[in-house]
């Protein structure tokens, strides 16, 4: 029994012959002529800017609409809560004393301990 080529084999001439018989196909002259005609009449190629412009236009509009929506939402929220926004977040307690404290009771307590 003969071995077949390994994974790293060179092109196999017998397989190549079989493939050549199959891939010879009909005359390619007509095809090459038709392809040549097509290539001589190539359409104008879109420039990168044209491609970018067709891509960008709808996306710019969508981005502008999204930004407008977000801005509107922020303004609406600000308008809904004007009182809360104006209140300071730190609470300050002010204790007013109608008269100064009397020191005598304190002094008496300290002296009694002695």
């Amino acid at each position: 029994m003969k071995k077949e080529n390994s994974f790293h084999g060179d092109p196999d001439p017998r397989v190549a012959e079989a493939l050549a018989a199959h891939f010879g196909g009909p005359d390619s002259g007509g095809f090459v002529a038709r392809l040549g005609t097509t290539l001589r009449g190539l359409p104008a190629r879109d420039s990168e800017w044209d491609v970018l412009a067709t891509w960008a236009r709808p996306r710019v509009v969508a981005a502008a609409m999204a930004a407008g929506f977000l801005l509107g939402m922020m303004m609406w929220q600000r308008w809904q809560r004007p009182v809360e926004d104006s209140v300071s977040p730190v609470s300050v307690a002010v204790f007013d004393t109608p008269q100064p404290p009397e020191l005598n009771p304190v002094i008496n307590v300290v002296l009694e301990d002695r």
Partner: protein, 185 residues
């Protein structure tokens, strides 16, 4: 079969800058291989030629993305292979079968022609059992003389996968061909 005389880099740069004539030269230099790659996938010469025409137009529109420091051929053949694979996918969606090719006798003896037709039919039957990428891989490797690395670039798969494609395709071909093609020593 490979055309190595094409000053591909010069034409590639010119084509990338919008030179349609340079682009046409590059495509025509690889037209035969492109046609066989497409045929390996779609299995019909008329359809294969349409695929190459469409691929050439697609390549022209995408030429700005071509890296002129690299060879044009693998880039173009990849577009052809992808276009052919898309064509097969569309055909599968439509649930139609490829039409058998009508073979025309070239100017050779009837005996030789009969042998070639028989061989071609055996090869066609063997190739029909393979995946599209396996057919392209074995055709490019054994018929066109491309390296595994080049085929990997064209098919967009790892080199090891290409080796596997070629190995299994060869094995299937040899089994199907039987006595028509002798086993290698």
């Amino acid at each position: 079969m490979r055309n190595t005389d094409v000053p591909a880099n010069r034409w590639g740069r010119a084509a990338q800058e919008g030179d349609a004539e340079a682009f046409g030269r590059l495509v025509l230099a690889d037209a035969g291989t492109a046609r066989r790659v497409a045929y390996a996938v779609v299995g019909n010469w008329d359809e294969a030629e349409d695929v190459v025409q469409d691929a050439a137009l697609a390549a022209w529109q995408a030429i700005a993305r071509f890296d002129a420091n690299r060879p044009f051929r693998p880039w173009f053949l990849r577009i052809v292979a992808n276009a052919a694979l898309d064509q097969v996918r569309r055909r599968r969606v439509r649930h139609t079968e490829p039409l058998p090719e009508a073979l025309e006798a070239p100017g050779i003896s009837p005996e030789r022609w009969t042998d070639q037709v028989l061989l071609s039919e055996r090869v066609a039957a063997a190739l029909a059992k393979l995946a599209e990428r396996q057919r392209v891989a074995v055709m490019l490797f054994d018929l066109e003389g491309y390296s595994h690395a080049e085929i990997a670039t064209i098919l967009g798969v790892p080199e090891g996968t290409v080796r596997s494609y070629v190995f299994h395709a060869r094995r299937a071909l040899r089994q199907s061909l039987g006595s028509l093609v002798e086993e290698p020593t």
